[in-house]
Subunit: 386 residues, 2 copies
């Protein structure tokens, strides 16, 4: 198998924070399709839809099955009838695309059929080296975004780990903001970084947010104490989960409760990069729902609710963008939960592909779609094998 | 690739405790040799010395390089000049070989050249379903153990997870005892289970043991609060480490301090098998030095001190006998530690072999030897590839 070595510059591009990394051989993605055995009854077929993406971040399905795919560098791509349009979508605001910054997640408004609003997050260039994490919305007309509206902006800062979006069942939009860089922001109630924010669909602040009226607290804060969190999902019951990068170990999926503090950088199941211990528990701070030590670099997450994989119903899928701290590369992790959303058992899927997985979403056809973010950026379709 | 499915009976044989397992395809071990790239400069060659072992547990090197290999079922095997003798060593006491019970670890006395004593641990049949974990010693004469002396015995019980042995720098022998079954024994100072025991080389109790004279405490206890711990190593500095199976997650390597309590079943980074949370921290109980969530099933451990792999010097190697909770099978994990023995980064080695690793030891030649415990029990030699 042909291997290529990561250069220092590539490291800088792919890694969050100051992870301890080592040069590893990397495996290019084959052309597929690939057939894999999995643990609970499903033989799966993995088809490569395209390898022509550049550091893809998120997938959003349009009605009818066409897919929007955001690229970190600032382009929005569209896949029509299973084919990537070589022409990017126009009208995307200029983004700060330094390091991990750039264009982030796209989601459709719950009433998209009526209002056609598409919401998205990006890193907006600010003064000097600073940028802000911004929530915007726009409408897709032909091959272009139109009526772009900036709805909300964090303060300017240097945290650029990315942002995921999700609509809660009550119609409010949730937005993750990073804090792997300026870690002290995560516990600072006057900063919008290292938080999950909760906003009305016009970007205004809901009056029932947990810290509204509390002195020193930004009222848009829903939860605090997060590091870089690149996974966010609302279960059909309304329960909210994020997926969060720990430091050296201590990756997390958290069950999100209004007003709760998820502990970064005070507590973690991981260590500092120099090896020193962080305590895993403190009264009044939340313990993660699902943990990884060592790190897998969790990224996009989803619950499977379709009919194509009956044995996977209600399982949580987590994309692992692991690279460098432990050999083996990323994978898709399937987590079986009990009725309290507690971790029962897990399975590593697609680890033999040796790719980093950046997002995973269920398609309207009940199949699973995933983005890889390695030497090439690929979109994969996962379906039952005959 | 040919796959075989584990039967329920095979599960019972290979698993500790009540792990949540699922039927997985298993990969047979090829004939090799295998060449692998690794992260830090070493291309390695893996040779299969033998596949004819039956559930091997531990390796002990004799002066000159011949190897003793214990088999869980009760046989002691010898590898002479790289060839497994088809005839087992005679004179081994009858062991209780139910489930995970059987013949465990063998180690040579530090003054073996003078006294020729070989120490070993085994599960000795007791009344009804009970057994005891026994420390014995014997001398090897020709093809047989002679002068077998039982030196120490735990009380009878049902914990049969295995026992590792190691001599500390002060000449005392350390012995791990299991507590994945009768978990309450681990915190019970009147039980010898779920402990590390410290004994003189004649099996008597050292007067400077931490609980000598403390009411209600067995004086042989060195540390308490352990689950099944199948790894034990003394670093050249004298620092002692064990490797311990967590429940559902929460596998540990612990830095062993006299009199300390390692928390099982009160604290763990893992969960119960039903998913319910165990708190990870309690004042007065030790936090693990190295953690795995999800579980890898850590088994034998060693520090590499040879010259064959210069970039691996002082790295900790941990055999992973993982099976079932997460797809991907076992591997050898290489852990890079800082000068406080804190976890800096890790690498998975030999994961592509899809085997369970039961023990790992450095040979007198500076190469690394490992036991796998899968459909076949194999002895592997790991050396630098040309």
């Amino acid at each position: 198998m042909k291997h290529a070595l990561l250069t220092a510059a590539m490291f800088a591009a792919v890694l969050h924070g100051q992870a301890n990394v080592i040069d590893l051989p990397r495996a290019p993605l084959g052309d597929g399709p690939f057939i894999f055995d999995t643990a609970e009854q499903h033989k799966i077929k993995v088809t490569v839809i395209t390898k022509a993406l550049d550091r893809p971040f998120g997938i959003a399905f349009l009605p009818g099955g066409n897919m929007l795919v955001s690229e970190r560098g600032g382009k929005l791509r569209i896949v029509r009838d299973g084919v990537l349009d070589p022409q990017p979508i126009g009208g995307v605001p200029k983004v700060n695309a330094r390091a991990n910054a750039g264009l982030y997640d796209f989601v459709l408004h719950p009433n998209y059929a009526q209002n056609q609003w598409i919401y998205f997050a990006f890193s907006k260039p600010g003064e000097g080296n600073l940028s802000a994490t911004v929530l915007a919305r726009a409408k897709l007309q032909g091959n272009s975004l139109t009526q772009v509206q900036e709805l909300y902006s964090t303060e300017q800062g240097t945290n650029v780990g990315g942002s995921r979006l999700a609509f809660a069942l009550d119609g409010k939009i949730l937005m993750t903001t990073p804090a792997a860089g300026e870690v002290e922001k995560a516990q600072d109630p006057a900063s919008a970084y290292g938080k999950i924010l909760r906003l009305n669909d016009d970007g205004s602040i809901p009056r029932d947010n947990p810290f509204v009226g509390k002195r020193g607290y930004r009222p848009e804060i829903y939860t605090l104490g997060h590091r870089d969190h690149l996974g966010l999902v609302v279960h059909s019951s309304g329960t909210i989960f994020n997926a969060e990068h720990g430091p050296n170990g201590g990756d997390e999926v958290n069950l999100i409760k209004p007003g709760a503090n998820y502990g970064w950088p005070v507590i973690s199941f991981g260590r500092q990069y120099d090896g020193s211990r962080i305590l895993p528990y403190k009264e009044g701070m939340e313990i993660p729902q699902i943990v990884w030590v060592p790190s897998i670099g969790p990224s996009g997450i989803m619950f499977y609710t379709g009919d194509k994989f009956p044995a996977w119903k209600n399982n949580l899928f987590v994309g692992s963008a692991r690279y460098g701290e432990i050999r083996g590369f990323g994978h898709l992790e399937r987590v079986v939960l009990n009725d309290k959303f507690e971790d029962i058992r897990r399975e590593r899927l697609l680890d033999d592909l040796h790719q980093r997985f950046r997002d995973v979403r269920q398609g309207p056809d009940g199949n699973i779609y995933a983005l890889t973010d390695q030497e090439v950026g690929a979109l994969l379709k996962i379906e039952p094998a005959p």
